[in-house]
Structure formats: structure tokens, C-alpha cells
């Protein structure tokens, strides 16, 4: 696979997108108004889920309506840039690869800083990082007083540096030589606050979890981010980006009150009227979480941080952002509420099996008539807009991780404290099935429910039973893919030398 496949040919014909919306609306209105209601609680739960699906479908199509948005840049604009590499106990070889990559950037005027948080994070290798900086001839800023996790580390770095622009890299994201040349010239526009580039995972083919994590990302960093460009609503992702110092300082630096400091800070910049830009080029390559625990932590952090925007920062009514930006942020954030809808969809077949209740009463083929064209075209649109980068595995990861979304939304709603957790850069070997208890429990529940239902009906198998069993089976199969990711992995994680090799040669043979 070519690195930038997910960035190419993302534009879907507008006629197809329009038909997509019509089919989504048709499906929704048939479900909501034309089919006979069943049990009312289940019906309204279903409608809640369908409203959510409709919202997601419409905002997705709106976002990807036009993914080709050109912005002028001035190649002569080459101001000084501070390059921050944030570190908090990651393996030395990982950090070294990134620093070497940063030093190899082809740009006339930049300074590399390692923002070493290992000391305050009580990491054993913090002093090794200092020595590495000396060895490579870069600056190392080591904090002694903890505050604000990663955001605090960055703000500390900002306080002792002065270049007008700052590039950010996580310790595992190795920039390409052209990174600064491809991003900084856009800042000739004095209203531009930050330029974001894709968070590409080079190790996506090394194991099952990393692959799923990247395939999920490919849809976001492909058509979605390209579409957000048009709406001046680019998501700040914390790494592989360049920020205008004055803009960042205007909003108080990186926001320290959230574990998704980048996302919230980007929102504040938009709120203050600054512009954002997404450069759809892979200009740095990083590491995806390679084990299930790391993946779960990463997803939980993103979910919690994003949902804080709704529950703690008044996204719906806050002033300063445009309607389009508000809708875009709402669309991004609401993805992390989808776990509730998955839960509802998973419960409905079980309710039928154990109680005989159902949300709507209609000919099963009438439902098929409105549903199949809608889902077929939607999946095709997703596949086409991601240029065949989005996969069934990614879909399974997105759907089956419902408990992460639920737990995060509850924590955010009740403002429970949540610690910043760095995604491990090395695969943790082990069995993480304990993280998928809900998914594993669902599978026998469907089987038991189906059996109970048939026995209860004196052996009669009705069309409704077949349909509900089919829905239950779909959920179970999708959950099984997720459970598989939690099971002990057999593949070896990618070594740093392989990663470096990959960075230099563009492609890596696994």
C-alpha cells in the first residue's frame, strides 16, 4: 500500500453524495413515521439511535462534499521555527529516531528541542534522554515541577523558547525532510494559527491492533480532514503540526485542563477567530498502538478529551465560532457518543428473544427495501472516499469499542478526573481479553436468547426470530473481530531500526 493512498482520490461524485443523503432521509422517515410502532420504549430508543445515525451520515457527507481545497502558500516565507519533541519515558531508540529525523529536515532556520517530561513523570530513562540530546546536539528542556501533563510540558517549552512558529512531534513521529518546507510557507497568511498534517502510522502492517487503529484513522485523516479544510474547522491533533506562537499564546498556550489538550486548544484558536489548515501529505510517520491495552487507552483519552468539549466547554452555545465550525466540532465529538447507539442496537435483538418485544412492526422485507440501498451506498461512499483504505477491521474497531465511549461520556458528564496516559510505544505482550468482557458476553447471550425464544414459542421459528437472530449475529461477528484484537498477538512489533528504514525508503517490507 502506498503511504498516501488514503489522501488520494477522496472526492466522491456529488450526485452520489446527494443520493446518499436522500436514501438516509428516506430510511429514517420510514422508520420514524410509516412503520407501525412496537413496544414504545424500544421504539424511542431505536429512533434515538436512528437520529444519531442520520446526524452522522449527513455531517459526514457534508464534510466530504468537497475535499479538494487549495490554499496559496509563499515558498519564500521561511521564518525561524522551534521544533518540539515531547517525551515522557518512551524508549530511547524511539526518541533518537525522531530527533534524527527532525535534524534531517530541509529548512533554513529551525531549532530542535526535546521537551523531556520523564523526570516529573518519574520515568527511569529521563536522564538518558538528556544524554541523548547532548549526543545529538539538540536542546533538552527537562521539567522539574509537574503541571498539566503533556500540555504543561509544551507550555514549559514555550516559556523558554522564542521562535514565532513551533512544530510539534510526539516522540514516535519521525518527520520527513520536507516537513517544514511543506507547512511553514502557508503561514504567510497572518490569520493562520496552525497547520496540521496526517498522523500516519508506519507500523500499521505489523500487527492486528496497529492495522485496525490505522485503518480507523485513514478515514479521518483522509476525506474528513480534507473536508474540514474547506470549513476552516481542522482538528488539531497535537503532533505533526506547526503552530503560530502568537496565536497559541493568545489562548493561553496549550490547554492544560483536558487530556485532549490539542483538540481543545484547536477549538479555542477557532473561537478566537484564527484560521486552520490541513496539508494532506504524509510528512511524518509514527507508531500506532501495537497492543490492545495501548489502543484502548488511546481511544479512551480521545473520547474523554473530545466529550469534554460538550460537557465542560459548552460547545453548543459558546460564542466566537461560526455555525459551520460548531457543527463540525459537534460532528467530531458526537462520534464518541456512538457507543450508546451500538449498545441500543445490540440490546434490541436480545429484548426480542427474552421478552418478545420489538421496536417496530412491519414486513421484514419492507424494512430491507429502505435499509439495504441506504447501507450499501453509505458503505460504498465510505470506501470510495477513503480510497479503499477503510476496512471491515476498522469498522469493527469503531463499532465494537462501545464501552469506551460509554465510560468516557459518563466520566465527562460527571466531570470525573481522568489522568493523562501516554500511548505505549512498544507492544505490551499479554492477554487483554479482560477489556472485552462485554463483547464476549454478548455472543453467548445471543445464542442463549435465540434458543430460549424458540423453546418459549414451542419450537416455532418466525420471520421476526430469523431477522432478530440475524441482527444479533451481525453484532456478535463484529464484536468477535474486536475480541480477537484483545487476544494475545503472535506478530512481533516493528523495531525502531525497521521504522527508520521505512522512513528512509518510503516503504518497508514486513
Amino acid at each position: 500500500m502506498h503511504d498516501e493512498q488514503f489522501l488520494k482520490n477522496t472526492q466522491v461524485p456529488k450526485l452520489l453524495l446527494a443520493v446518499n443523503i436522500l436514501l438516509a432521509l428516506f430510511y429514517f422517515f420510514m422508520i420514524a413515521f410509516f412503520f407501525q410502532k412496537g413496544e414504545l420504549v424500544l421504539f424511542w430508543l431505536l429512533i434515538f439511535g436512528e437520529v444519531f445515525h442520520l446526524w452522522q451520515a449527513i455531517t459526514f457527507i457534508w464534510t466530504i462534499w468537497d475535499t479538494e481545497h487549495d490554499v496559496p502558500k509563499d515558498p519564500q516565507f521561511t521564518p525561524p521555527v522551534d521544533v518540539f519533541i515531547t517525551v515522557a519515558g518512551e524508549p530511547i531508540d524511539v526518541i533518537e529516531a525522531t530527533v534524527r529525523g527532525a535534524l534531517a529536515m530541509d529548512y533554513p532556520n529551525f531549532y530542535v528541542f526535546i521537551l523531556n517530561d520523564g523526570y516529573v513523570a518519574k520515568k527511569e530513562n529521563w536522564a538518558d534522554v538528556v544524554r541523548l540530546a547532548d549526543q545529538l546536539g539538540v536542546n533538552c528542556i527537562t521539567r522539574r515541577k509537574p503541571r498539566g501533563a503533556k500540555a504543561g510540558n509544551i507550555n514549559n517549552g514555550l516559556s523558554v523558547t522564542e521562535s514565532p512558529f513551533v512544530a510539534f512531534f510526539d516522540s514516535d513521529h519521525i518527520p520527513k525532510p520536507e516537513f517544514l518546507r511543506e507547512t511553514v510557507p502557508y503561514f504567510a497568511d497572518s490569520q493562520l494559527a496552525f497547520v496540521q498534517t496526517p498522523q500516519f502510522y508506519k507500523n500499521s502492517e505489523t500487527n492486528f491492533v496497529a492495522g485496525g487503529a490505522w485503518e480507523q484513522q485513514s478515514l479521518f485523516f483522509g476525506p474528513i480532514c480534507k473536508g474540514k479544510n474547506r470549513l476552516n474547522a481542522v482538528t488539531m491533533c497535537g503532533t505533526n503540526m506547526v503552530v503560530r506562537r502568537t496565536a497559541l499564546m493568545e489562548v493561553g498556550g496549550m490547554y492544560e485542563g483536558s487530556i485532549a489538550e490539542d483538540f481543545i486548544t484547536g477549538f479555542f484558536l477557532h473561537k478566537n477567530g484564527w484560521k486552520s489548515l490541513y496539508v494532506p501529505k504524509v510528512l511524518a510517520r509514527g507508531l500506532a498502538p501495537e497492543d490492545f491495552l495501548a489502543y484502548t487507552k488511546q481511544q479512551a483519552r480521545w473520547a474523554r478529551g473530545s466529550l469534554d468539549l460538550i460537557f465542560q466547554h459548552n460547545l453548543l452555545f459558546t460564542r466566537g465560532i461560526t455555525f459551520k465550525q460548531r457543527m463540525q466540532y459537534l460532528s467530531s465529538v458526537s462520534y464518541f457518543l456512538s457507543g450508546w447507539v451500538v449498545l441500543i442496537d445490540a440490546i434490541i435483538p436480545l429484548m426480542f428473544f427474552f421478552t418478545g418485544q420489538f421496536p417496530i412492526q412491519t414486513s421484514t422485507m419492507a424494512l430491507a427495501t429502505v435499509f439495504i440501498p441506504y447501507i450499501l451506498l453509505m458503505l460504498y461512499t465510505i470506501q470510495r472516499s477513503s480510497n479503499s483504505s477503510f476496512t471491515y477491521r476498522a469498522l469493527a474497531f469503531s463499532v465494537a469499542g462501545f464501552q469506551i465511549h460509554i465510560a468516557s461520556s459518563v466520566a465527562s458528564f460527571f466531570r470525573r478526573k481522568s489522568g493523562f496516559s501516554i500511548t505505549p510505544k512498544r507492544a505490551q505482550r499479554g492477554n487483554f481479553l479482560y477489556l472485552t468482557v462485554a463483547q464476549m458476553a454478548y455472543i453467548p447471550l445471543v445464542v442463549a436468547g435465540a434458543a430460549y425464544s424458540v423453546v418459549h414459542a414451542h419450537g416455532v421459528v418466525t420471520p421476526a426470530w430469523v431477522a432478530n437472530f440475524s441482527w444479533g449475529l451481525i453484532n456478535a461477528v463484529v464484536f468477535a473481530k474486536y475480541v480477537r484484537a484483545a487476544a494475545p498477538q503472535t506478530q512481533e512489533p516493528m523495531t525502531v531500526s525497521a521504522l527508520l528504514q521505512a522512513t528512509q525508503n518510503q516503504e518497508v517490507e514486513i
Binding site: 500500500m1 421484514t364 458503505l379 420471520p463
Partner: protein, 532 residues
């Protein structure tokens, strides 16, 4: 799959289709449509134009059948052989179509699906134009694909082949026009992959085809329009009918409970779609073409049946079934190799099982066992009885097998030799019709092809006469025996009747289905009621 095996597989598929037809299909009872076709084909050349023009069909197949019967004899088996030949020729052509559109591996799987389908095996051996329609549709698609994938130096031949196959197609079945519609839509969407001047050529072909078809349409118009003298009338399709078409394609004509279970599992399609989300899998124009050919005509015909007039029957879409097979095979190409292998085996295996069930199950929805019911009536009805079939047009297949001495009529009473439509049913005309039955002792009432008045008709007899017997021979084909008069019935007659039911378990007396046959009709409704 190794290329060297493919010819053997193709030969094996053709042999399979031939033997299956010989052993299972040829002995089947003739159905209503077949009997009508035979009747139409027995006319003179101009007579065929006349009777087919009043029907909902076009005359090419009937003319071919006419000369075929003249050459080789007029038995049902001979007539069915013509269809079988078309079917057998189509099998390698489906493979060739898939090969030029995709690749050999994909194509051979599609050809296997086509050949083991209960749907094609049924219509591949009946006296109708469906196997010819499939053949010409595949031929036209081959030339259509070659227009943009074939060798440039042969392009003239492709254009001619396309034109000629389309000409045969439009005179084989009206639904072939839907194929032209799909070709047109595909051309609009993918005109860039076609050679230069193809728009001009397509327009020319369309105009010439139109010029050659308009005379026929005008002739039909002078006869009173489409289906001027045709029954049964169809009803507008429901969503179930639409999905049934796809279910019929793959799994044939199953009894209602099984078919309902299959259709109700439709959500699993969502899962199959999910599986197809794989990296680096692009949608090819050929894939779009066959998918469109498999879906668009069906959806369009269903919609038009509601807007204009109902004309929707799943068998009319048989020409699109090879496209459906190729689309399914193409869909599997999106899957990872192991998943595709499992999926292909599962699908093919399930289809083989369904083929077997359709073959042995007398309640398979497509079966019309006029042979058995005629044998039963021939053996049991005497010259003092009367036999009535309803709907009236079902007299064709019934009288093909009927050899009894009882008078045969229809309800409503219809004189086949008099031109014009079948008389409409009303309760008053029914009473008048029954009034003409005079002193007949028993009425053997055979009901099939419900035209909307079947229950009224049956209710009339239930409330006016005593029902002696009832037997269901195949789906929607039921025999009722009513006592019309007692004047000449002796006690001995009554005792004979009672004994005959008691001994045979209700299957009838001498000359009726054997015990083995009767037991094979396990789900048939069989009862003796109100016997005094």
C-alpha cells in the same frame, strides 16, 4: 484455480445440467404457461403472430418452436429439449462473458452458480422462451463488453454481433429492452472507456432496432394492445416479490416457510457488505455493469408495475441472472482469499441443497401438477359427473393429460374456440353456469391460478353442495369433489366411494398416485370431510 481444469469443469457443468434435466425436469407435469406456448406454437406462421401478438410476448421463440416441433415431433419432451439446448449453450457463454470481463477464476465460479441454480435448472427445461432469452442476453453482453475490452481490429464484428443479438433479444422477450436500458446507463456513466464514435454507433443501432421493432408494436396495437386477450392478470409486486426474485435466482422456488426463513435472514447481507470493506479493493466498471444489470431492471420493473400496469414476474428477469451470478462472484473478489473460499463453498453448497429440495418437494411454489390431478380425475370421474376447472385458462394444461369420460368445462364457462376474452366472474353468472350442470352426480372442481374470485366460487359450492373430498396436488392446485345430485346415487355407489378413500388413505382408487407418490406429497392437504 489451474487453467487446465477449466474445460473439464465446463464440460462437467454442461453434463450435469443435461442429466439433471433428463432425470428430474423432463418428467415434470406440464404447466399452464407451457401448455399455452405449445398451443400457440401449433398455429401457422401467421397464426403465431396473431396469438402471440394478443399475448404479452414476442414471437421469435414460438416460431422457432413451431419448426422444431415440425422437424422432431410434438411431444412435451421434444419441445422441452429446445429450451434445454439453449440452456446448455448458455453455460460456456456465461463463462466466456466472465472471462473477458474479469478473469477465469471469477468466471468459473459465476458459471458454477449459474448452473447449479434451481432457478435456471427449472426454466432451462420448460417450454418457454426463458432459456433463449438468457442466451441472447449473455450474447449481447459479450459483444457489449468486447466493445471496450476486445481487440480493436475486430471491433466491427463486435458492433454487428451486438446489434444482431439485440435484435434477437427484443423479439425474444419484451424485458430484453431493460438490458438495452442498462447498457445505455452504463455507457452514459463510463463512456470514456469506449472507443471513439461509439456514441454514433449506439445511436444508429438504437434507431435501426427501433425501426425493426416498431412494426411489431404497431401490429400488437392493432390487435388491441399488450395482453389484449391474456390472462392471468398480474398484481403489482410487493417488496417481498422484489426480494423473492433474488431469492429465486439463488435458491429457487421453495415452500413458503423455507422461503420466508431465507428472506427474513436479509440482515446478514449487511454483514456480507461489511466483509467486503477491504484495503485496495476498487470498484471496476465491469463490476458496476453486472451489478446494475442484476438490480436495475428488477427495481425498475417493480416501480413501473405500480405506475403503469402490473407486469412483474421473477422469471421475466432470467436474462439478468448470469449478470447476477457474475456480480456475486465479483463481490467475493473483495474478500480476503480464505474468507472468499469459505463464502463461495457455503453459497454453492446451500444452492445445491436448495436445488435438491426444490426437485423433490411437491410443494415447491413453482410446481403445477396438472398431470396428477388429471390422472386422478380421469380414474375417478364417470360420465355421470362433470369436471370444472377454474381459472378457465387452466383448462389447457389439464386437458393435455385428461383422458376421462366426464364432461370437462370451466368456471366461468368459457368456449376456447370463440375469439375474445374469458367471461368475467360474477355470482349470478356462476349460478347460471352451475344451473346448466343438470343431472350430473358429482362435480370435480379443480382450482388453480386464483383470479380473485376463487374463494367466492368455492364458497358458493360449500354453501350449496356437500363436499365429498379435497386434495391439494401442488401449491395452489386443489381438487374439490362435490355432490351435485343424489337422484341416481345408490347406496352401493356411496359405499364404494367410502371404501375407496378408506383403503387408499385418501389418495384415490385404481389409477391414482401410488402409495409411494402419495407419501411424497407429505405436506399436501388431504382430507375427507362431511361424508355421510
Amino acid at each position: 484455480m489451474k487453467r487446465v481444469y477449466i474445460p473439464y469443469i465446463l464440460i462437467g457443468l454442461v453434463v450435469f445440467a443435461f442429466l439433471f434435466s433428463m432425470f428430474y425436469m423432463m418428467p415434470q407435469s406440464i404447466g399452464l404457461d407451457e401448455s399455452q406456448t405449445l398451443w400457440q406454437a401449433e398455429h401457422t406462421f401467421t397464426g403465431i403472430f396473431y396469438v402471440v401478438g394478443q399475448d404479452v410476448h414476442v414471437p421469435l421463440y414460438h416460431i422457432m418452436l413451431h419448426y422444431w416441433l415440425m422437424l422432431f415431433g410434438s411431444s412435451v419432451t421434444v419441445a422441452r429439449l429446445l429450451s434445454l439446448i439453449f440452456y446448455l449453450v448458455t453455460i460456456p457463454l456465461v463463462y466466456y462473458l466472465g472471462k473477458i470481463a474479469f478473469n477465469e477464476s471469477l468466471s468459473i465460479f459465476a458459471t458454477i452458480l449459474f448452473t447449479i441454480s434451481p432457478f435456471t435448472n427449472w426454466y432451462g427445461s420448460i417450454i418457454r422462451m426463458y432459456s433463449l432469452l438468457t442466451l441472447v442476453t449473455v450474447a449481447s453482453q459479450i459483444f457489449f463488453i468486447l466493445l471496450f475490452k476486445g481487440k480493436p481490429e475486430h471491433r466491427k464484428a463486435y458492433w454487428f454481433g451486438y446489434f444482431f443479438s439485440c435484435l434477437l433479444g427484443i423479439y425474444t422477450h419484451y424485458f430484453f429492452l431493460l438490458m438495452l436500458g442498462v447498457d445505455g446507463l452504463f455507457y452514459i456513466a463510463y463512456h470514456k472507456i469506449f472507443p471513439k464514435h461509439s456514441l454514433r454507433n449506439f445511436v444508429m443501432i438504437t434507431l435501426i432496432l427501433a425501426a425493426l421493432f416498431v412494426p411489431w408494436l404497431y401490429y400488437v396495437h392493432t390487435l388491441g394492445g399488450f395482453g389484449a386477450n391474456t390472462t392471468p392478470k398480474l398484481t403489482a409486486p410487493s417488496t417481498v416479490d422484489v426480494f423473492n426474485t433474488f431469492s429465486n435466482f439463488l435458491f429457487g422456488f421453495q415452500a413458503d416457510p423455507l422461503n420466508t426463513a431465507i428472506l427474513s435472514a436479509w440482515p446478514l447481507l449487511t454483514l456480507l457488505l461489511f466483509f467486503a470493506l477491504q484495503k485496495n479493493q476498487k470498484v471496476s466498471p465491469e463490476g458496476v455493469y453486472f451489478t446494475a444489470a442484476a438490480i436495475v431492471p428488477i427495481v425498475l420493473a417493480a416501480a413501473l408495475s405500480h405506475v403503469i400496469e402490473p407486469f412483474y414476474l421473477s422469471r421475466y428477469f432470467i436474462g439478468f441472472f448470469p449478470s447476477f451470478c457474475l456480480a456475486v462472484a465479483w463481490f467475493f473478489s473483495f474478500y480476503p482469499q480464505s474468507a472468499a473460499t469459505v463464502g463461495k463453498f457455503a453459497l454453492a453448497g446451500f444452492m445445491v441443497v436448495m436445488l435438491q429440495i426444490q426437485t423433490v418437494n411437491p410443494q415447491a411454489s413453482v410446481k403445477e401438477d396438472y398431470s396428477q390431478v388429471a390422472s386422478y380425475v380421469s380414474a375417478n370421474a364417470s360420465s355421470r359427473d362433470i369436471v370444472a376447472v377454474s381459472a378457465p385458462f387452466t383448462v389447457y394444461p389439464f386437458e393435455y393429460y385428461y383422458t376421462g369420460s366426464a364432461t370437462l368445462t370451466t368456471l366461468p364457462v368459457w368456449d376456447q374456440l370463440v375469439s375474445g376474452p374469458i367471461p368475467a366472474f360474477t355470482t349470478s353468472t356462476l349460478a347460471a353456469n352451475v344451473g346448466t350442470f343438470g343431472n350430473y352426480q358429482k362435480l370435480y372442481l379443480i382450482l388453480s391460478y386464483n383470479q380473485g374470485y376463487e374463494s367466492d366460487l368455492q364458497m358458493y359450492f360449500e354453501t350449496h353442495y356437500q363436499r365429498l373430498y379435497e386434495q391439494n396436488f401442488s401449491p395452489d392446485l386443489t381438487l374439490y369433489v362435490y355432490q351435485l345430485n343424489y337422484n341416481n346415487t345408490t347406496l352401493a355407489d356411496m359405499q364404494t366411494i367410502v371404501n375407496s378413500y378408506a383403503v387408499s388413505g385418501g389418495a384415490g382408487a385404481a389409477g391414482t398416485p401410488s402409495t409411494e407418490q402419495a407419501s411424497s406429497t407429505s405436506s399436501a392437504t388431504l382430507s375427507v370431510v362431511n361424508y355421510q
